[in-house]
Each structure stands twice: as structure tokens, then as C-alpha cells.
Symmetry: C2
Subunit: 150 residues, 2 copies
DNA sequence: CGAAAACGTTGGCTGGACCAACGTTGGTAG
DNA sequence: CTACCAACGTTGGTCCAGCCAACGTTTTCG
């Protein structure tokens, strides 16, 4: 933007989007490793966690909650239903919708995954004090909130 | 894992790895949109930026600098070379290596991309004060450093 | 000298994020 | 009441980033 700017190194390594990318990639690797123990992947976890936290919902609503495209929700719910972690029932009140609910096994799995994820967080945030962790979470939350209702 | 823990919501939305994932995804979208104007993608930018900052290098070294797999460097350098942004020359001192260097056009493009990326950063970090931006960058850097030499 | 390592390259696979299209169902404006 | 439009689930496809295995060549090291 500013041709007069003395070519400040720009320094890939101090660029926020680069740092975010790398940090998220690392977090993703840790999380994936954790999920692998449950033979599940990111989408599955998000859906289970959302169902456990906020209760049953239609697939479209789940997608909105989790930031997953409708079409990807279909496949993930297929998987989860196939494993008996979730049930897909037509919504009597609106026949366009399927209501997705956790089974008992699904609630169990969600709980276990939450434990796994908690361990991953500790691992990921190991170098930060708890005040710093809170700060990081606060900053990221602000960022997302801003861009969510931009 | 502490059954005594009062079932603290775990709250997907307050999980560091979730927030990082979402923030990085958003940053990625912004960056991609910026790159699209140059008809290039993430890998291309990283390589150009690294070459502009730290000078010519072998493909393997570039991959290490940029966190890109050797095999992916091949394809990206093919693209860049095809556009005349970069030259691939055998290293006389070590015939295993190709030395990659920016052309004048490549240096130009790297400069323009840096401008684009700077704009993206401003957009991304809009909701944060400059002190907060610095703080965020500091925290992320600490995280990466720790996990880099874990 | 011989084994081990590094390099460039090919080819392939995964996961996450998207998008377009379709038929069905629901709501709503005329 | 009839159109029309919006939302839903579903299919099928694309794209990018990341990763891994294998190969032949070249270099380094024991």
C-alpha cells in the first residue's frame, strides 16, 4: 500500500494470517491424532459436540451451528448413524427436516471425545500461562465475532 | 478426565483449537480472495515471499522454509517457472540441487502480493487495536516456537 | 569402497471447505 | 386457492493444503 514504506521485511513469519494458519495446522494435527483413537474425524466431533451441547436439531441447523456445509453434514451424519451414535428421524412438524439426536452411545462418545479434546488443548497451549490462554481465546473470539457479523 | 469436574461445557466455541481453526479458515478465505487477483495460490505466495525475503535456495530448502512438502514444491515451482516468475537452474556445486531464483517479474509479483497480503492483514485484524494485534502475534509465535522445538 | 543420506520427481491419498443442481415440502403474496 | 419463493436433504463434483511412498541420481560419511 505505501510505496514509501521502506520495504519493511513483511516477514512472512510475523504475518497474522501465516501464524494463524500454522497454529491451526498444528492444532489440527494434534486434534486429528486424538480423533483417530476414536476412529472419527473433525466433522464428526463437531457434530457430536454440538448435539451434546445444544441438543437435537435438523441437519441444516447443525450445519449452521458447526460451520459445515449442508452437503457435508449429510455424509457425516450417515457415518454417525451407521455407527449408532446418532438417530435420524423425520420431523413430524416439518416434513422437510430430519431431526438428529444423540443415542446413549453417541452421548458417551461425545463425552469421551470431549476428554480427548481437552487433553489436546492442554498440549497445544502448554507454553502459555492460563492468563495468556484466556487472552488468546479472547482475541480470537473477538476476531471471529467481528467477521461473523461484519 | 476428571469425573469430578463439573462437566464443564467444554464449549466448542471456547476451545482454542476450534477458534484457531475458524480464525485460520477465515484468514485463508481472505487471503485466497487476495491471491485470486494475482491468479496464484497460497503455495505460490509463500515461495515467492520466501525467495524475496531470504534469497535463492534449493527446492528442498524452500520447502523447509515454507513448510511445504518437497513434492508440492515441485509443482508450485513448475507453475511459477512457467509464468516466468522464477528460474530453476542446476546447482553447479551440488548436482542434486536446483537453485531457484526470482526473476525481475517474480520480484515485482512478490512485491505486489506483499501489498495484497498487507491489506488482508488489516482486514483480518480490523477489530483489534495495534497493541492487541501485537499481543496476538506474540502469543501465536510463542505457541509455534514451542511446538517447533518440542 | 560401500552404506547412508539428501535431492528432485512422480503419483497417489486424505480431509476440509465449497458449489450447483434436483425434487420435496412449507410459507406467503396475490 | 394458486403461484411463487424459500428452506430442506441429497447427489455429485471441484479445489486446495498437507502428507507419504517410491524411484533414480548425487553426495557425504564411515
Amino acid at each position: 500500500m505505501d510505496a514509501t514504506a521502506p520495504q519493511s521485511p513483511a516477514g512472512l513469519r510475523t504475518t497474522a494470517s501465516w501464524l494463524l494458519n500454522q497454529a491451526a495446522a498444528h492444532a489440527g494435527r494434534l486434534a486429528s491424532a486424538g480423533f483417530a483413537a476414536h476412529d472419527l474425524r473433525g466433522y464428526h466431533f463437531r457434530l457430536l459436540a454440538s448435539l451434546a451441547e445444544d441438543g437435537p436439531a435438523s441437519q441444516a441447523a447443525l450445519g449452521r451451528r458447526c460451520g459445515i456445509d449442508r452437503s457435508d453434514v449429510v455424509a457425516a451424519i450417515n457415518d454417525l448413524a451407521g455407527r449408532g451414535l446418532v438417530v435420524r428421524a423425520p420431523d413430524p412438524a416439518d416434513r422437510r427436516r430430519n431431526v438428529i439426536s444423540l443415542t446413549a452411545a453417541g452421548a458417551d462418545e461425545a463425552h469421551r471425545m470431549a476428554d480427548t479434546v481437552a487433553r489436546v488443548q492442554d498440549d497445544l497451549l502448554a507454553p502459555l500461562s492460563s492468563a495468556e490462554r484466556a487472552q488468546l481465546i479472547r482475541l480470537l473470539t473477538r476476531l471471529l465475532e467481528h467477521h461473523h457479523n461484519n
